[in-house]
Structures are given as C-alpha cells and as structure tokens.
C-alpha cells in the first residue's frame, strides 16, 4: 500500500502515527502518575479529616462518659443517703450542658426491699430540669441490660426520643457494684443521655466539594447521620446494601462496624457518583464515621489539565500536519517537476528548461546534478554526433581506399585467354579493414610472365598504401632481363630508403618462361609456395633465404630456378590462410592446408581456390576474419 503512496503521505502517516503514539504514552503515563499522586493526597487528607472529626466527637463522648463513671465510682466508694444521690444527679444534669438526662437505676429491690424499681431520673425539658422516677420495668431495656450483662459501661444504639422532641439520643450506661461478703454484686446502672444533634451538626458540616459528605453508622450499622434523611435511624448500611444488591457495600459495612478504618473506592448512595470513602471508628462508642470524596470533583483539576493537554496536543498535531505538508511539499514539488523533466529528457528533449530550485539542500544538489547531467548529455550527444559523422566519413573513405585497392588487383579470369601455355587464378578475400595483401601478374615480354604475392605488415590504410607502393614498385622495377632477386633488391632499396613508419612487406616474386616452363623466383620473407608435381605429393618451393622488404636497405636477395613440367602447378598464399583462427583459437595451419590442397590438386585451379576458401571458412566457423586471405594458383601447360 505504502509503496505506491507519495512521500508526503508516507511522512504524514508515519510521523503523525509515531507522534500520536508517543503522545498517548506520555499522556497516559502522566495521567496515571498524577492520578496516583492525587489519590495519595486525597487519601492522606481524607484520613486526617476523618481522624480529626472522630477525635472531636470522641472528645465530647469521652467527656460525657466521665460523668456517669465518676458517679458510679462515688456510688461504689461512698456511703450516701437518698437525698445526696438525688442532689448529685440533679447537679450532674444541671452542670453538664451536653447531658440531656441522667438516672441511677437500681437492680430489683436493690435500693429498697419494698420497691422493685428505683430509678430517679433528671432530664431537661424546655430549658427546665424535670424529675421523675422511671415509670416502667427498665431491667430489660438495652440501656440497662447491656452494661449489666457485659459488666462494663456501654453506649446504647442511638434512638429517637419522642418526649424530647423527636431527637436522636444515645445513652451511656455504667454499671456499679457493691461488695457483699467479698462478692461483687451489681447494684444498678448510672446513665447519661445525650442528644446527638451536635454530632449530626459536626458531620453535616463536613462538605467535600459540591457533593462530598460524611455519615455516621452505629455499632449495628444504622445510619445515625446521613445526607439522605430517609436513611437516618431507618436503614442500616446492610439494608442499604441489600436494597442495592451490593455485596461490596455489605462487606464495607462489616469492616466499619468491626472498628476497622480504610480508604476505598465507593459509589455514593445518593447520586451513585464514584467516590472515595474513608472510614474510621469512634474509639468511645465504636460507631464509625465515613466520609465520601467525589472523584470527579477532586479530579476536576487533572481532568481540566487533561482537557487542555489534549487540546494543545490536537493543536500541535494540526500544526505538525501543516509543517509536514509544507516540508514534504518543498521536497516533492521540485522532485515531481524534475521527474516530469526527466520524462521529457528521456524522449530526447534536451533543450527543456529545468525547474529552478533555489534551496541549497539535497534536492537543490539533485537539481544541480540533474542540470549538469542534462548539459553533459547534450554536450556528449553533440560530440557523439560529430564523432559519428567523422567516423562515417573515415569509413566511407576507407571503403573507397579499399575499393581502389581492390581495383588495382586483377579481377578478370582467365586474364590471358589467348595464352594456352598456362592458367593463372588469384583471389583476395579482404578482412573487414583495408588489408595489406597483394598479388599481381604481368608479362615482362612475350614469354616471361611475372607473378607476385605479398603481405604488408600491419593493416589499415597505411598497409594498403604500402601495398599500392609495393605493387607499383614491383611493376616498374621488373624490367626485361632482370632476374627476380634483382627486382626484389631494387624494390627493397626504394621501399627502405624512405620508410619512416618502419613498415615492411613479404613478397614472393617469380618469372615463368611460358615457353620452357623455366621458373626463376626470389622470396622476400614470404610463405614458401607449394608446387604440385604430377602424381606426387605437393611440396614447398625451396627457400631463397630472403628477408622481408623495407627492412634492410642493401639486402641482396637470391634467386632459384626450377623447371615446371607440363601440368605442374604453383600454389601461392599469404598467412591469412594458415593463420585463420577458429573459436578455440586454433590456427588453420600449414598441415591442414597441405592436406586440403592434396585433396584438390587435380581439380581446375579455380575450384582449388574455391575449395580452400571454403575449407578455411568452415574451419573458422563465423569467427570474424582478421587478415586478408590471398591465394594465387599458376598451372603450367607449356606449348604443344
């Protein structure tokens, strides 16, 4: 997918994806970390607040506890009259503003053998202190029975006091004893009733944010104070849990009434909002205070911060998007223009105007290089055109030279149809370039036929010129009466005299008396020709030990004479035949030549030449010919 998209899109996708990923990692970490810090702080503050509140309440409750305790202590340790006791009780209610009422309730018949119940009770009513004896059998009431059975002071469960104006109260009861015959015996219970409205006020004053609040549950889990008045004294935390089918709330309630403290996530019973709740017990009564901290409000700061961070990130994201679009545009626009230009250049339009790129970055460099490439290419093509033209000219000139060279040679066979004494045939298969092979034959006089085959060192125009010079020299120097060695010596002299390029030519030169068959020849460093005897093997002509012409100026060449019998044939060739090469770089070789000539020697001379040419071509199998292949065949018939 990405492969086919532009650089711009790739950059946008990759960079923005990476940036988003990085952002979310940082944001997530930051959020979790700051959240943890806030929770930690909330917990610390919550615990402090709860503890402080609990301490405040405990202080009051503890101070209330002291009153019946000291009264019980007095009753146990002093001897008192009924009047003393009533006065004391009166002053307790009078002097302790927190205490709503107080009684000293005796066990059945403990105060007097005549009365089952005896419980003088002072209580406040409309600002006045009233007195009565508790009119019912109080022995099975919680405020009496619990301390009695537990043998220790106890706070009762909070209760509504209808007589006092439907206020919630709780009673602290302290049992007191008398030692009879060494045995501690319960005498009764001293109580102090307190209104819990102050406690409700303290807890109602706890305001955490908009919706945070505190509540108090009794030892049984009954709501003593709560934001929701329906819950107060009506529901326990367990019935609330049952109504909501909330097992966690029930477990939390159990923790609370067991006097545990903690800090837990919690859902508000009123709003259902997520909160944290701290709970801690009152050390005096065993009741438990819970304070709810609404999460969203405490998290408001971090939520706002997160909102701002997300907004800034989005803005940054957009900014980055624009920057990437601009940057990628600044890279891809010239690249696209260059690509378009390159397409045009590819079609051969080198004169196209390249887009101007001002930037000095890599793209600028690329554009410069591109421009340079374009002008170099243009220059090169110009030069190439010129060179090609020059080359073509040279080639055509070479071709002309070649044609001229070929024109020098005899082409029409038989050249002397009126001379039946001999037959001569020559062929020159030129290599691709202008070669340096030569052959020639002409009559010196009526009876003497000169014939020659030569091979100029090197190739090309110089060789062909040298060949032309050699041919001309041989023709001009071969005057009547001169022996072949003389002719070669003279030609050698002329060639050597002014030969700055140090070229040389191997030449075989022979003169045949067509009447007698007498053949005189001289060899200037050329391959020795073969002679075909009648009914015999072919053999090379004897060497005359001459060297190539054009090397040593005053070299004296030797001649040899043989007499050709009727029907005998001389086969002359250049090394283009024997040194023809095949693919394996093997040479055609003299052995092969000899063998092939043997097979062909009785054929007409043209067929011999054609046969050998064919053999050589078959041998080289398409390997390009590197040298001229020249053959000359002279067959002597004599005169009848």
């Amino acid at each position: 997918m990405m492969k086919n998209r532009g650089i711009g899109l790739k950059l946008i996708l990759l960079i923005l994806t990476s940036v988003t990923l990085i952002f979310f990692l940082i944001f997530g970490y930051n959020y979790l970390f700051s959240r943890r810090i806030i929770i930690k702080n909330v917990e610390k503050n919550a615990r402090n607040l709860a503890q402080a509140t609990v301490n405040r309440i405990d202080m009051v409750l503890r101070s209330v506890e002291k009153v019946p305790k000291s009264l019980a202590y007095f009753l146990e340790s002093s001897s008192y009259s009924g009047g003393d006791m009533i006065d004391l009780l009166h002053s307790v209610v009078e002097n302790n503003p927190e205490i709503y009422g107080s009684t000293i309730a005796f066990e059945p018949y403990a105060y007097s053998r005549n009365s089952l119940c005896f419980a003088p009770y002072f209580y406040k009513c409309k600002g006045e202190i009233e007195f009565k004896y508790i009119p019912y059998e109080y022995f099975y009431w919680d405020w009496y029975q619990i301390p009695k059975e537990l043998n220790r002071p106890a706070w009762t469960e909070p209760y509504y006091n209808v007589g006092a104006g439907n206020i919630i109260m709780s009673t602290y009861s302290v049992p007191f004893y008398k030692t009879v015959l060494g045995k501690r015996q319960l005498m009764g219970v001293v109580t102090a009733d307190i209104s819990l409205s102050w406690l409700q006020e303290i807890i109602a004053s706890i305001k955490i944010g908009q919706t945070g609040y505190g509540f108090l549950v009794s030892k049984n889990g009954t709501f003593v104070t709560h934001h929701d008045e329906h819950l107060i004294m009506n529901e326990t935390i367990f019935s609330a849990a049952e109504a909501r089918a909330d097992a966690r709330l029930r477990e939390l309630g159990r923790e609370m009434i067991r006097g545990k403290s903690g800090f837990v996530p919690f859902s508000s019973l009123i709003t259902g909002k997520k909160c944290w709740m701290v709970y801690t017990p009152l050390s005096s009564s065993g009741w438990s205070l819970g304070v709810l901290f609404p999460q969203d409000e405490l998290m408001a700061d971090i939520t706002n911060l997160n909102r701002i961070v997300i907004f800034l990130s989005l803005a940054g994201f957009l900014f980055l998007l624009v920057v990437i679009v601009l940057i990628s545009g600044s890279i891809t626009r010239p690249l696209r223009a260059l690509a378009e230009a390159a397409k045009d250049i590819a079609t051969g339009n080198l004169d196209i105007e390249l887009p101007t790129i001002k930037s000095r970055d890599e793209v600028g460099n690329l554009a410069d290089s591109f421009n340079y490439m374009k002008s170099s290419l243009k220059e090169y093509i110009k030069e190439l055109t010129e060179t090609t033209a020059a080359k073509e000219r040279i080639e055509s000139e070479l071709k002309i030279a070649h044609d001229i060279q070929m024109g020098i040679l005899h082409k029409i066979f038989p050249p002397f149809p009126d001379r039946p004494e001999f037959d001569i045939y020559a062929t020159l298969e030129p290599a691709k370039e202008v070669g340096g092979d030569l052959y020639d034959f002409f009559f010196m006089d009526d009876d003497h036929l000169c014939f020659t085959v030569g091979d100029v060192s090197g190739k090309g125009v110089p060789a062909s010129l040298f060949m032309a010079i050699t041919m001309t020299l041989i023709k001009t120097k071969a005057t009547k009466g001169l022996s072949p060695d003389k002719v070669l010596s003279r030609v050698n002299e002329d060639l050597s005299m002014d030969n700055p390029s140090m070229m040389f030519v191997t030449v075989f030169f022979g003169i045949l008396n067509i009447r007698t068959g007498e053949l005189e020849y001289s060899n200037g460093g050329h391959n020795p020709p073969y002679i075909f005897h009648k009914n015999e093997d072919i053999e090379p002509l004897e060497m005359t030990n001459g060297m190539a012409l054009g090397v040593v100026e005053n070299f004296s060449y030797q001649s040899k004479k043989i007499v050709l019998q009727k029907g005998e044939t001389i086969f002359l060739y250049t090394d283009g035949v024997t040194e023809a090469m095949n693919e394996k770089e093997e040479l055609f070789s003299e052995e092969r030549l000899k063998k092939d000539i043997n097979a062909l020697k009785d054929k007409p001379i043209q067929e011999v030449a054609a046969g050998i040419t064919e053999k050589v071509k078959a041998f080289s199998q398409g390997v390009p010919q590197t040298d001229d292949i020249t053959m000359m065949i002279l067959r002597f018939y004599g005169r009848d």
């Binding site: 029975q145 537990l150 469960e157 049984n220 004294m233 009506n234 326990t236 309630g253 159990r254 067991r258």
Partner: protein, 329 residues
C-alpha cells in the same frame, strides 16, 4: 310489543334495581385487629381490603392497627373488633382460661420462632448451648425454647430478652430468640452473615407451634357463621394476591407503615413477606391454606399444659371451626 311484555320488563327492571340496592346494603360493617403494626406480617389482610376482596365477600372492613397498646384479645372481648389475629398458643391459653374465642383459620402453618447463635461463640448444635446465656422473650415465647431445652437436656442461663436484639449483637447473650421474618433479618442487617450464625428453627426440632391465626368470639360465629367464612375466604384470597404481587404489596405495606410513623425499610418488609409465604403456604399444595391440624393443636396444647400455662386442654372441636369451605379443595 304486547303490553304484558312491557310490564314484564318493567317488573324485571324494578327487581334488578332492588337487588342492586339490597347488595349495597348487604355489606356488613366489620372491624379487624391484627396483633401488631401493619407490617408485611399482615399484608394479606391489608391487600384484601385495598383490592376490594372483602367487599366482594360482602364485608365492609375496617382494620384497626395493632400494637403494644392495642391487644387484639381486649378488642375481641369488648366487641370493638369482630376478628383479630392471635398466636395459636395464646388462643389455646385464653380458651383454657374460659374466654370464648374460637379459631376460624390457622394462617401460619409453621412456627417462625427460632433461636440464633453466633458460630463464633462455639454454638453449632443444641448441646453447645450448655452453660451459655440464652435470651428469651415473655412467657408465651418461652414455651418452645423451654421444651427445646428440656428435649436436649440443656443447662442454660436464661436471660430475659427485650424486643431489640442489641444484647445479642453486643455479646450480652450467646443465644437470642428471634422471629424468622423479623429479628433474624435485623441480625443479618446488623452485619452478621448467615454463615456466621447457627439457627435453631423450632419446627425443625419437633416443636412446631404455628403462630398467627384468625380468631373471633364464639357468639359472633354463632350469630353469623357465613360472615366468618366470608372473612376467612377473603383473607386467604388476600394473601394469595399478596404473594402473587409482591411489589404492589410492599408498596402498600410501606405506605401503611409510614402512615403510622413506623420506621420501615423496603428490604425488611420484603424479607418478611417472603418468609410469610414460606410460613403460610402448606408444603403440600393440595392442602388448602388456613387449616388447623389436630396434631399441631395437640402439640401446642400439650406444650402449654406441660409448662403449667393451662390446666386442661380445651376440646379442639369447640376451639376450631373450619371456615375454609369444602369447595376450595
């Protein structure tokens, strides 16, 4: 139309109108008093009243809320109420004392009274109660526990229990008396889990003393047995309706309690209604609701006699008058 037909129509119309007026007039004004406040324990009566079931049976019913200050027996005796509910044991006791009351329906089939202990106090079987403090209510509530103590030959310290379970919750007693539909749920909703408690249901220990039944004075029954039958049938239909429509029932119960300014919670009333269903519906669905069985009567009466609460066992045939008609079977 012939004239005689018109006359016939007129006569017929007149007859129907008179019938209707007579039907209206036929509603009998009746007062009923349950033992206690209008909690779910008495939901069936209140629902029958609310849904017009009593009217259907020709009764214009007024329910007098019961409570500590209004003992049903007094209302029955004085004629302030025609019908009331009493425990079977109370009923027998009163009858033995010579008060001419009769049971016309035994609504509860099983005893809801139970003993509850905390497992943490080491009580897992009746024998574990030896040497422990057991909280018991007043005399009428002590018959079954005392028979239980006797049955298992226990040596316990009996503590008089008030109507709160706080003494038990604070470990002032090891074993507490509780009504299954009331105090037991209060204990659960004071933070004790069922698996932390050991329960002793008396009906599971051969001490099934079925409780709430409907009572009336003998002369009321003799005067108008059809009214008694109608009242019982309407009451039982009320209970059936209440069990079939718990949500509606509970909202009516809650409304009645609020009217009486009695603190109440929905979950507690729901628990109570569910337990009443367990206690009222006979185990065998072929047995009609509200029947008093001789073996239950004998068991309770014998228990009372053994405890010295009655001297003679009243004759069941004079005590109980079955008012659930046979066509219901």
């Amino acid at each position: 139309m012939p004239r005689y037909k018109i006359i016939l129509c007129l006569v017929l119309f007149l007859f129907i109108s008179v019938e209707a007026v007579a039907g209206e007039k036929a509603l009998k004004k009746v007062f009923f008093i349950p033992q206690w406040v209008p909690q779910a324990q008495f939901a069936g009566y209140y629902l029958a009243q609310q849904r017009g079931i009593y009217k259907k049976y020709g009764i214009d019913l007024t329910i007098i809320p019961g409570g500590p200050d209004s003992p049903p027996l007094d209302f029955l005796k004085s004629g302030k109420a025609g019908f009331g509910t009493l425990w079977l044991s109370t009923g027998i006791q009163m009858r033995a004392k010579g008060i001419k009351i009769i049971n016309i329906a035994q609504v509860l089939q099983r005893s809801a009274l139970m003993l509850v202990a905390k497992k943490s106090s080491g009580i897992k079987s009746p024998q574990d109660m030896n040497g422990k403090k057991v909280g018991l209510w007043g005399p009428i509530f002590q018959i079954q526990p005392k028979a239980f103590i006797k049955k298992y030959n226990l040596n316990v310290k009996i503590i008089r229990q008030s109507f709160s379970v706080n003494l038990f919750l604070r470990d002032g007693v090891d074993v507490a008396s509780a009504m299954w539909y009331n105090e037991y749920h209060t204990i659960l909703n004071s933070g004790f889990n069922p698996d932390e408690l050991t329960t002793f249901f008396f009906h599971k220990h051969g001490l099934n003393f079925p409780e709430d039944g409907i009572y009336t004075m003998k002369d009321t029954f003799q005067r108008d047995p059809d009214l008694c039958k109608a009242f019982v049938k309407a009451s039982i239909e009320g209970w059936q309706y209440a069990f079939a429509h718990p949500e509606e029932t509970l909202s009516i119960v809650m409304k009645n309690l609020q009217k009486e300014h009695i603190p109440a919670t929905w979950v507690h009333q729901k628990w109570m209604l569910d337990r009443m269903k367990d206690l009222i519906l006979p185990e065998d669905p072929n047995i009609p609701m509200g029947k008093l069985f001789a073996e239950d009567y004998d068991r309770v009466a014998k228990g009372l006699k053994d405890n010295g609460l009655i001297k003679e066992i009243p004759n069941l045939t004079f005590f109980y008058r079955e008012c659930i008609s046979h066509d219901e079977k």
